[in-house]
Structure formats: structure tokens, C-alpha cells
């Protein structure tokens, strides 16, 4: 397994830029027809924390497609090291094409798993985080892990932008291998201001995401 701290020194890659703009963007458009509501709330520069619900591998591709090409070198999905660095091929794709910032989900007590994300923010990058920590069952948002609150606390001036992704869990749910084209919507909300403590931050973030979900078109299973 690669050591997570190697990513700090990785230079911006032309290959990744081409992969994201020439392959990922058209793929997202065909397979999800992604509509964006609230585009004006997206950060126009780093550092920023973008928090989204997580039902599908499509989520990261959709979030990456939200940003203009000139910002992409600063945008990094934070993704589980145990999954995305599991073998050399996937690891190469994850690090070099998708450009993830790996985060450990299985770590000894006391180790600082957030160090790479913190370093990315310190470098002025936009990190994409899925606070559920895993893909939830399609159509649901699981409990949010508090790591994002610790990041927000460390960088209280960095905007935390909530994004609700509607429909991706139908295109490619957990466990499925065949993507089925269905329209999806990304709803971008106003930044969540740091309220002074972590529990209030988490409550505010969850409320903001629930609020965006309520605004989404009915792009979900009826039952």
C-alpha cells in the first residue's frame, strides 16, 4: 500500500487533466445528464471543503465534473486508502488519474488520519469529502463522521460547501457493475459557517444536506 503522505509531493498531472476533461466529463454527461442547482455556491478557488452524500462511485466523478478545467489541479477527492489503494492497478488509477487524497479508515488509536487532508487545505486545495465514510444504501444518508468537523475546526475560515447528489445511487449502486444511465442532480448549498464547536457544526451540516435533498427532483426509486 502506498504511504498516504506521498501525495503531497505529486505534481499536477497533464494525464489527469486530460482524463478528467476528455473522458470523465462526457461520461458523466451521458450517464447522469447531471443538472446543477446552485452552481453559484461552488468555490471559485481553494482552499475549500466540499461535503457530499455518498451512494455511488459516480459521486466523485460528478463532483469533479462540477469544477472548471482550470481549477481541477486543485481539486482532490478524499478516498479510503483500504479500498482505492488495494492493488497496484487501482492504486495507480486512484492516485494518478482521479487524484485522490487517500485517508485511512483502519488506523491505530492516536494516529492522525486527517494529516493529508489538512496538508491539502494548507496548500490551498479544494477537497471533496464524503462524511458518511462509505457508500450508504441507495437513497439514504448514513450517520456523518466527525472528521470533517475537525478539519473545519482547524481551518475555521475555509468554506464548507454542502452538495446533495440525487440519483447517483441508481446509476451505479454499491455492489453493481453495470452503470445504467439515469438523470441526476447536484444541488450545491451555501457554505456552512463554523459555529464554534463540532456538535453544532455536524448538526448544521446535516441540516443543510437534508434541506438540499428536500429540494431535489424525484430522481429516486419510488419504492
Amino acid at each position: 500500500m502506498h504511504s498516504p503522505d506521498t501525495d503531497a509531493t505529486r505534481p499536477p498531472s497533464m494525464l489527469r487533466q486530460i482524463f478528467l476533461t476528455v473522458l470523465v466529463r462526457p461520461f458523466v454527461q451521458v450517464v447522469t445528464g447531471m443538472d446543477v442547482i446552485g452552481r453559484e455556491h461552488l468555490p471559485t478557488d481553494g482552499p475549500a471543503i466540499v461535503c457530499a452524500n455518498h451512494n455511488s462511485h459516480m459521486d466523485a466523478f460528478m463532483l469533479l465534473s462540477l469544477f472548471p478545467a482550470r481549477l481541477l489541479h486543485k481539486v482532490r477527492p478524499v478516498a479510503a486508502a483500504d479500498y482505492f489503494l488495494a492493488n497496484p492497478a487501482l492504486s495507480w488509477v486512484s492516485l494518478n488519474l482521479i487524484g485522490i487524497s487517500p485517508i485511512s479508515r483502519t488506523v491505530a488509536r492516536g494516529a492522525d488520519v486527517l494529516a493529508p487532508a489538512r496538508a491539502a487545505l494548507a496548500r490551498g486545495e479544494i477537497i471533496l469529502v464524503f462524511p458518511e465514510g462509505t457508500r450508504s444504501k441507495d437513497g439514504e444518508m448514513g450517520p456523518l463522521k466527525a472528521g470533517v468537523a475537525r478539519l473545519a475546526e482547524a481551518f475555521p475560515e475555509v468554506p464548507v460547501i454542502p452538495v446533495w447528489i440525487e440519483g447517483a445511487g441508481r446509476v451505479l449502486p454499491k455492489g453493481a457493475h453495470t452503470p445504467v444511465p439515469m438523470n441526476c442532480t447536484a444541488l450545491v448549498g451555501e457554505a456552512v459557517a463554523w459555529p464554534g464547536d463540532r456538535p453544532r457544526f455536524m448538526a448544521a451540516l446535516r441540516a443543510r444536506l437534508d434541506g438540499l435533498a428536500a429540494e431535489a427532483p424525484p430522481q429516486h426509486w419510488a419504492a
Partner: protein, 321 residues
């Protein structure tokens, strides 16, 4: 310009070139009005209108490019339109978790139907969806084992495929008519269909805005009025009546029949999709086309006018079908 491109445009019948020029001219006037409005009336919000007119330019550019490539171009364009329309419909309609792969199966009707048109298999095209897709799909859904809301879901999926795929197939079918069968070629017939359908939408809207008093279907489409409906009907019928001899091989009597019924079909398609959207609780089927909404919002009338136009032409005038 390469010779092949020059030849492509030289092959355009003069009537069609004039028709497309007329549309472009109308749009230039609309664009100039749009640019003048913020100066004349700075208090108004013209963003929506501006988006709508720019989108019209893109739509017309796509149609012109497709027609320049002949029936292949038009077939590819409408296969893409059918795909996006069906994706919009199946993404908003109430489907069940177990229907995920059935959705993928439903998309296969697009390469199937449009492929049959490419292969000149009109007879098989006519039954492929209404007989075989309609039989196999409920069977596959039965195999999936979920019977809750089974009947309603079968109806939803099959209706969506008829509207978004089968009905739009009428346009590539028309494109396969030999050029000598129509005064301005196959593309001329398709041009009149698209022009009349979209003109009906625009004229109904404009008449409604100018003269609308009495609501026609308030529970389904609260902005539609009798004045808009009747105004659009009369003006579109006149348009079809004057242009039918230029673009179609119809006799005056049959041209009058199409002029009379086509605007009604356009209104019916519009209102039917409004009822669907109202049931689903959405205003637009997506946000793909700025100022218009989704592809299905733009082509709702066309899904009704295309088969009507095709079948009347086929019955009265076309040797091929």
C-alpha cells in the same frame, strides 16, 4: 472550404435553403428584439428570454448540421434526442429498485428501432416496440419477481418508450423517402414537420401572452388559454397550408387535413406531458436546455405530431410506405 462540404450544401434543395433561411431570419429578428429589450425596458428581467433564444440558435444549428449529413445525420440526431428524452422520463417516473436493469433494456429499443430504420425494415419497425417490446418487458419484469406496483410500472415504462422512441422514429423514417417523392426532398418534409410543430408551440405561447383571458385546462396547465390555443391553431394551420405545396407531395385537400389536425396534435402532446409533469411534481423534465427545460419539454408536442404527420403522408402520398 473543402469540396465535400460545398457539395453537401449544393445538394440542399432551394426550397429547403429558403425555409432554413426564413427560420434564421425570424431568429435574427427575435435576437435583435431580445438585445433591444433591456434598453427599452430596463426594469424587466429578460434572462429567461435570452437563454431561450440562444438555445433556439443551438437547436437550429444542430438540425441544419444533421440535415447536411442527410438521413444518417438526422437518424443520429434523433437517436440522441430519443435517448435523452427517455432518460429524462424514466428518471422522473416512479420506478422500483428492481427495475434498474429494465431501464437499461428500455434504452436498447433506441439502437433496435433506429437500426431497423437504417436497415430499411419498416415492417419489423412497426411491430418491434408495440408487439415484441410490450410482450418481453412485462415478462422480464415478472422474472425479476417484484409484483408490487407491477402493472403501473409496466405501463409507465412501455408508454415512455412509445412516446420517446417509437413516435420520434417517424422522423428518420421520413428521411428514408426517396428525394423524387417530395418537391424539396425528404429533408423538406421533415423541415415542415419541425417548423410547424415548434411554430405551433411558439404561436400558442405568443397568442396566449397577448390575448389570453380564458383558461383552457387550469388543473393541468394553468398558463394555457383558449385564446392561445385557437390563435396558435389558426396561424399554424395557415402556415402548413401555404408551405405544404412547397415541401410535401400532398394534394390541396390532404394538405388542408394536415393543416387542420397537426396543431391539435401538438396541443395534445403539450398538455399530455404537462399532466405527466404535474403528477410527478416537477416543472421541467431537466435543465439541459437553458430557457426551455429538458429535451422532453421541448419535444412534447413533436412526440404527437411526428407520427400523425408521418402516417397521413404515408397514407395519402408516399409510395415508399
Amino acid at each position: 472550404m473543402p469540396d465535400s462540404v460545398v457539395q453537401m450544401f449544393e445538394a440542399v434543395p432551394p426550397a429547403l435553403a429558403w425555409g432554413l433561411g426564413g427560420v434564421a431570419g425570424t431568429l435574427i429578428v427575435a435576437t435583435l428584439i431580445m438585445l433591444a429589450l433591456p434598453v427599452l425596458k430596463p426594469s424587466g428581467d429578460w434572462t429567461e428570454l435570452r437563454h431561450r433564444i440562444w438555445s433556439w440558435w443551438v437547436i437550429i444549428a444542430l438540425v441544419v448540421v444533421a440535415m447536411a449529413f442527410g438521413w444518417v445525420g438526422v437518424t443520429v440526431l434523433f437517436a440522441a434526442v430519443a435517448f435523452i428524452a427517455l432518460r429524462e422520463f424514466l428518471s422522473l417516473a416512479p420506478l422500483r429498485r428492481e427495475d434498474r436493469l429494465i431501464v437499461l433494456w428500455a434504452y436498447l429499443t433506441i439502437p433496435l428501432s433506429f437500426g431497423l430504420i437504417v436497415l430499411d425494415q419498416y415492417g419489423i419497425y412497426l411491430v418491434a416496440i408495440p408487439v415484441w417490446f410490450f410482450l418481453i418487458t412485462p415478462f422480464l419484469m415478472a422474472l425479476a419477481g417484484q409484483t408490487r406496483a407491477y402493472l403501473a410500472t409496466v405501463a409507465t415504462i412501455t408508454w415512455g418508450v412509445i412516446v420517446c422512441v417509437y413516435n420520434l422514429g417517424a422522423i428518420p423514417l421520413l428521411m428514408r423517402v426517396p428525394a423524387e417523392e417530395a418537391p424539396a426532398g425528404a429533408a423538406g418534409m421533415v423541415f415542415l414537420l419541425l417548423l410547424a410543430t415548434q411554430a405551433n408551440d411558439v404561436l400558442q405561447y405568443c397568442c396566449g401572452k397577448l390575448f389570453g383571458r380564458h383558461k383552457i385546462l387550469p388543473t393541468v396547465s394553468p398558463n394555457k388559454t383558449w385564446e392561445g390555443f385557437l390563435g396558435g391553431w389558426v396561424l399554424t394551420a395557415a402556415l402548413i397550408w401555404f408551405l405544404a405545396p412547397v415541401f410535401t407531395p400532398l394534394t390541396p385537400l390532404h394538405a388542408a387535413l394536415i393543416a387542420f389536425v397537426l396543431p391539435l396534435a401538438g396541443f395534445a402532446g403539450d398538455v399530455t406531458m404537462s399532466a405527466v409533469k404535474r403528477d410527478l411534481g416537477v416543472k421541467d423534465t431537466s435543465r439541459l436546455i437553458p430557457g426551455h427545460g429538458g429535451v422532453l419539454d421541448r419535444i412534447d408536442s413533436l412526440t404527437f405530431t411526428a407520427p400523425l404527420y408521418f402516417h397521413l403522408l404515408a397514407y395519402y402520398a408516399l409510395a415508399r410506405y
